[in-house]
């Protein structure tokens, strides 16, 4: 089944005529994603890789059934584009953009909550249901269909771990990028709940990092899960008070430490890998 997106998901690309929008539309189409339309204000009537472009999201929806939207929009304009997608009633909105101000993020989430919209990101690589649908920017070749669900705060580190899984014969059901910012839409718990219910997913890999308390919250849910969870947490060596790249990756006033997260996850029954390459063996151990 996979979660959230699948082979029938019709996708809209907002910002399709920009550099990033065009490049990734091509990559997503090559993966097999159903990109039905794009939006770039003022560019309505054009096509990108055969995909029709509209001036507004509403115009696109007059002509197509749209289930999900992906935003390749610069930070100062991302909030408006997200509002537009949510207001139009699109069910899933994937925000790739990094550097969105946190106040804009809080407003996006508040509006999304009112409309029941699923927000993935911001500052995410997107979501991949292996073999069926890729919404976002991860390279095509490392994802193969299988039974391991992956949910992560980081991008490249997740590709590394997914590549290791694939190389060990462990394919993926769905890989979800939560995003590296402090305020994001879907959280670990939201995705773990879905993986627990998904018949295709047999085990879950959680890729976390320092900062915030998302992993600690996840631990509370992991206690109740029947499916095994293997975690890897980045940032053991990070000094407190310093933002390590991601807006959300900062240890402040003693909160969000590596030790705290590992302790909570271990106590909840998750297996915590010391190094990324250990993840596949821990999964195999857990699946018996």
């Amino acid at each position: 089944m996979a979660i959230i997106v699948g082979e029938k998901t019709n996708v809209l690309v907002q910002g399709i005529t920009g550099n990033q929008g065009t490049f990734h539309t091509k990559q997503m189409l090559a993966y097999g994603t159903r990109i039905v339309a794009g939006v770039s204000p003022g560019k309505g009537g054009q096509t990108v890789e055969g995909v029709p472009v509209y001036d507004t999201v509403a115009a696109a929806m007059e002509n197509h059934q749209i289930d999900a939207s992906v935003l390749f929009i610069p930070a100062p304009f991302a909030k408006d584009a997200a509002f537009e997608a949510i207001a139009a009633g699109i069910r899933v909105v994937v925000i790739i953009t990094e550097h969105i101000p946190v106040h804009d993020e809080m407003e996006i989430i508040a509006f999304a909550r009112r409309r029941g919209t699923i927000i993935i990101g911001p500052n995410t690589f997107g979501i991949v249901s292996s073999g069926r649908c890729k919404i976002g920017i991860p390279p095509n070749q490392f994802f193969v269909p299988g039974h391991i669900g992956v949910v992560a705060r980081s991008g490249t580190l997740t590709y590394e771990i997914v590549a290791n899984l694939t190389a060990s014969g462990l394919g993926q059901s769905t890989v979800v990028g939560l995003g590296g910012d402090r305020v994001v839409g879907l959280s670990f718990v939201d995705v773990l709940e879905k993986f627990e219910k998904d018949p295709e997913t047999r085990a879950v890999v959680l890729v976390g990092e320092i900062g915030g308390n998302a992993e600690e919250e996840a631990a509370l849910f992991i206690k109740k899960m029947t499916k095994p969870v293997v975690a890897y947490i980045a940032g053991k060596s990070a000094p407190p008070g310093k933002r390590m790249g991601h807006a959300g990756a900062i240890i402040e006033r003693g909160k969000g430490t590596f030790e705290g997260k590992v302790k909570a996850l271990t106590a909840a029954g998750a297996r915590v890998a010391t190094l990324p390459f250990e993840v596949p063996e821990l999964i195999k151990e857990a699946l018996g």
Binding site: M106, G180, G245, L275
Partner: protein, 371 residues
């Protein structure tokens, strides 16, 4: 971006909150003059971007202008929590009837702002027991409405004229928080003096991602030179204190790389995320920044999705040829255009690694050997 206390107070004042009478000075003579102007006991406060200034000796009291001169002379030039004191705030010493704590910050878990208040102000809020802390999550569509002010006052045990003043203050604090794109606006202590509520301290942190639209705020830059240069290239850089310089593509993998180095007994010199879409030129400049920090070894860890391995290889070769590299370089190259990148490096005498932890172990070994 953290604002200095005096900047936070200026902001508060502009928005209509009460602050102590005072002035910024940079010399003992000026301190004496301000004390004379105030005509009453004063407090001399070092202006540094760290907490716990009092414990570090950065806050002193003076009853006369002469004492103010002496106190200022002691505080200026001292180091508080590792930071040099170059400016001080000379303020009237307040008659304190009570100290409150009030702050508005971003709650990541709630994905919303949160108001935090306590009748136990003047100390570290983390040490106040939960039962004395009022926490109210806020809806960005509602902000702080009068009913919420009444409820917060009730829970803090504030009544009468003081409650009225508190209820005037809270929405103003929220406006500052929202209009200035703040991550944190904190008043600790909020001093009750008679019936006035005075912000005895001000801690304001502005979201770095919003600075482009907060142009009328002062600019506070406490970064190192390397951090500044990296930022100009659109990269993330954090100075650490080891001797293995690190570059990777992506914040998570960069953190993971630092962790692995440490795991094998090495000491990372820095965090540098040259991720996603950084072209050849910027990568070459980033390498130069790393070289300028005089590491024992440079470790480059690339898992290229958007990042192209041949671009990274070209950048390394360019720096080697144009500037020369006098420290060992360990590079791990996997992903987009991997073959091309590896071949290019081999032509210039550099063998790229395929496996991350093997490359990390080598980097640590080389750093040890350089001893």
């Amino acid at each position: 971006m953290k604002l200095y206390e005096y900047m936070g107070k200026e902001l508060f004042n502009r928005y209509g909150l009460t602050i102590p009478r005072g002035k910024m000075v940079a010399s003992p003579e000026e301190a004496a003059a301000v004390a004379a102007e105030i005509g009453a006991p004063v407090v001399i406060k070092s202006q540094v971007l760290s907490g716990k200034r009092g414990k570090g000796g950065g806050i002193k009291f003076a009853d006369t202008p002469e004492e103010a001169r002496e106190a200022a002379a002691q505080v200026l030039g001292m180091t508080v929590q590792g930071l040099k004191v170059e400016m001080i705030l000379v303020e009237e010493k307040l008659a304190i009837d009570h100290e409150f704590y009030v702050a508005i910050t971003v709650d990541g878990a709630a994905k919303a702002p949160v108001l935090i208040a306590s009748a136990q102000g003047g100390m570290d809020i983390e040490e106040v027991p939960d039962e004395f802390i009022v926490k109210e999550h806020l809806d960005v569509c509602l902000g702080i409405q009068p009913y919420l002010c009444r409820e917060v006052c009730r829970r803090l045990g504030i009544t009468g004229a003081v409650a009225k003043e508190f209820s005037r203050l809270l929405p103003i604090l929220y406006r500052i928080f929202r209009e200035k794109d703040a991550e944190l606006v904190e008043i600790n202590p909020l001093v009750l003096s008679g019936e006035k509520l005075i912000a005895a301290d001000a801690k304001v942190t502005i979201d770095d991602e919003a600075l482009y639209r907060q142009k009328d705020l002062p600019v506070v830059d406490d970064r190192t030179e390397a951090e500044r240069q990296a930022h100009a290239l659109g990269l993330s850089y954090v100075q650490l204190d080891g001797n293995i310089a690190v570059m990777a593509n992506g914040a998570g993998i960069t953190m993971g790389t630092l962790d692995i180095i440490q795991h094998y007994g090495g000491a990372p010199a820095n965090f540098l995320d040259a991720g996603g879409g950084t072209g050849m030129e910027a990568t070459a400049k980033a390498l130069e920044i790393l070289l300028s920090t005089n590491p024992r070894v440079i470790f480059i860890n690339i898992f290229g999705g958007i990042t192209r391995c041949d671009d990274v290889a070209r950048a390394l070769v360019k720096v080697k040829q144009e500037k020369g590299i006098n420290v060992p370089v360990v590079i791990r190259l996997v992903g987009t255009n991997e073959e091309e990148g590896v071949r290019l490096l081999r032509e210039h005498g550099i063998e790229a690694y395929k496996v991350m932890h093997e490359a990390a172990a080598k980097a640590v070994e080389l750093a040890r050997a350089q001893n």
